[in-house]
């Protein structure tokens, strides 16, 4: 196996140009994903899926005035009490923005390029029954299109909602981290196209070090809301091969705050299933035994 490589997506310098989305589609020959005006800021892509392997999220926010719990304010890192004020941005179950005043101007526009996380413990890979999904020599997770039979199991298994099944094709698709380019010694198309180096590609260890430094720098600049996501090898998926520097809570970007690889609980599940199976046999046996008596 070669050294583990990955993406570090530093969203604090993403300019939302979507070059990653286009470069990805160009290189990987991914079809268009529909022409829908979504009225969700400048995002007309929506999310990752079979035909979208890079997705740039746009989040319009209003940051309270300094001293009012804004960035660097008393609430500190991890909990920026910014209201999402873009229309359609739900901040509560009822979709209403608590306390937001109509006409309050947006002064923070978060942009972030999402991608397959290439998890250390990848649920899609674990649950794939055919072996179509496999771990490459770069420790990335790739679907072999010539093996996939479109069972669709990987789709709900992914804790990030990344992989999708292309219904006209029948098979599942997702980011390959440009496996072919990696084998050719090139960096993935999205990282290559990113004009501001928001998407950085390289050996995962180096990226992690760089990311830690970046967070320290940002904190030093008073941007205490900066935090890494997916960088912890002890998290629920064993750390991501593609991790992020976020400027707000993960769920604001559509990311799960504390994802778990579902197969972590698989032994327990089999245990409960075995119990149920035995009970079933017992009930059935009892049904006949009682009769005989």
């Amino acid at each position: 196996m070669a050294e583990r490589v990955g993406f570090f997506t530093d969203t604090s310098i993403c300019i939302g140009c979507k070059a990653c989305e286009v470069a990805c589609k160009e290189w990987n020959d991914v079809p268009d994903d529909g022409f829908v005006f979504r009225a969700t800021s400048y995002d007309n892509t929506g999310g990752l899926g079979a035909s979208t392997w890079r997705h740039v999220a746009f989040i319009e926010q209003r940051v309270p005035a300094p001293g009012n719990g804004g960035p660097g304010g008393p609430s500190g890192a991890g909990e920026l009490p910014a209201d999402s004020v873009g229309p359609g941005v739900e901040t509560g179950a009822d979709g209403e923005r608590p306390g937001a005043v109509v006409g309050e101007p947006v002064d923070r526009w978060l942009m972030a390029s999402d991608v397959c996380k290439h998890c250390t413990h990848a649920a899609c890979l674990d649950v794939c029954p055919t072996g179509a999904l496999f771990r490459t020599e770069f420790h990335t997770v790739v679907v072999q299109a010539d093996v996939c039979n479109g069972c669709g199991y990987c789709v709900p298994a992914c804790p990030y909602g990344v992989i999708g099944r292309r219904e006209d094709d029948g098979r599942a698709f997702k980011c390959t981290m440009c496996y072919d380019r990696l084998r050719g010694g090139l960096e993935p198309a999205c990282a290559k196209a990113c004009p501001t180096d928001s998407i950085q590609f390289g050996p995962l260890d180096e990226l992690l070090e760089r990311a830690e430094r970046r967070v320290t720098d940002l904190h030093g600049q008073g941007r205490t809301e900066a935090r890494l996501y997916g960088a912890d090898p002890n998290d629920g998926v064993g750390g991501d091969g593609a991790f992020f520097l976020l400027m707000d809570d993960p769920e604001v970007y559509g990311l799960p705050p504390d994802p778990v690889v579902t197969t972590r609980d698989l032994p327990a599940m089999w245990g409960w299933a075995a119990g149920a199976a035995l009970s079933m046999a017992g009930v059935m046996a009892a049904a006949f035994l009682r009769r005989r008596r």
Binding site: T130, G152, P156, R165, T262, A287
Partner: protein, 326 residues
């Protein structure tokens, strides 16, 4: 009533992807797999207990359920012609891989058991006549052995599907991974019992009625636990379309189960009970699939529990030995 949770999301869009499995393929497969599993168990017990008539029904039901179910499963695939890729490898981390092997074994065994039973029931048939004598002679024994063997595969067949759906990121499924196997097991017993009641003369269907009633009881109990234990995550089992399906399933199963206890007395009651239990089992499977969809569609079910976990300092980890593939 769970209080409305405050949470943030990306334009209210789902965090995870909803299952892409189609209706009616997937729930019918779940139902048929359970039916077949329960029926095969019944056939084995019937063979051992000497309930030949009920055994015949059970064998045919098991084989038909497995075959039909496999058909739906294949049709559900994005690339049905690649169904056999399921058997390329055996992969313990994939319930679908394990299930495919179970299904393969189970459908083969139940087919053999049924073939033997049908032969025995109609020894003069043209087909039997054409078989080599040695094969024809071995068939009944092989069939019985197969039927007994399905006592192993059958319960797995009925319950692995619970693991199949639970082993996903869908909160309503994953969090119910303890109860779902019992829900499905109970439902499988009820379905098989119902089919036994419907297709066997009343006098010989006694164990089927017991199995049906007991299965219904297990199903109801498991359902009740799901609702109680899951809290917010269990909401889809109570609300919306999936909630309505689950309520219908509960009513039908409860009614059918009660009727089963008294169905020995009347043909009409038997039919009513069998149909109600079958409908209940179907509603359960449709309801579970729909609950999974609803659970995936609303980011609340993904975000709120995870956020609560973080805030209570109970962050998820895989510090336990990794069980990943490979």
């Amino acid at each position: 009533m769970v209080p409305e949770a405050e949470f943030r999301s990306y334009y209210g869009q789902p965090v995870i992807k909803a299952p892409v499995w189609h209706v009616p393929h997937m729930p019918l497969y779940l139902y048929l797999g359970g039916l077949s599993g329960g029926a095969s168990l019944m056939s084995a017990a019937a063979r051992l207990a000497g309930h030949d008539r009920l055994g015949l029904t059970a064998r045919v039901t098991a084989a038909a359920g497995a075959t039909l179910g496999a058909g739906f499963l294949v049709a559900e695939l994005g690339r049905p012609e690649r169904f056999l890729n399921m058997l390329r490898i055996f992969k313990p981390t994939s319930p679908m891989s394990v299930g495919s092997w179970i299904l393969a074994a189970h459908s083969g065994l139940s087919a053999l058991a049924t073939a033997s039973a049908v032969m025995s029931a109609a020894p003069a048939s043209a087909v039997a006549a054409r078989l080599p004598r040695r094969v024809a002679a071995a068939l009944p024994a092989a069939g019985d052995a197969a039927a007994v063997a399905t006592a192993l595969t059958g319960p797995l067949m009925a319950t692995y599907t619970a693991v199949l759906v639970a082993d996903t990121a869908v909160p309503a499924w994953h969090e119910a991974h303890r109860e779902l196997p019992f829900l499905f097991a109970g439902s499988a017993l009820a379905s098989a019992g119902a089919m036994g009641m419907l297709a066997t003369p009343r006098a010989q269907a006694g164990p089927a009625r017991v199995a049906a009633a007991a299965g219904a009881a297990v199903e109801l109990a498991a359902g009740a636990v799901i609702e109680r234990r899951l809290g917010l995550v269990g909401e889809p089992y109570r609300e919306g379309r999936s909630g309505r399906l689950m309520r219908a399933a509960r009513a039908l199963t409860a009614g059918g189960g009660l009727l089963a206890t008294v169905a020995g007395r009347s043909r009409a009651l038997t039919a009513l009970s069998g149909l109600a239990l079958t409908a209940g089992a179907l509603c359960t499977r449709f309801g579970v699939l729909e609950a999974g969809r609803a659970s995936a569609a609303d980011p609340k079910y993904t975000v709120v529990p995870q956020r609560q976990r973080l805030e209570s300092g109970d962050r998820a980890s895989t510090a336990a030995p990794a069980r990943s593939w490979p």
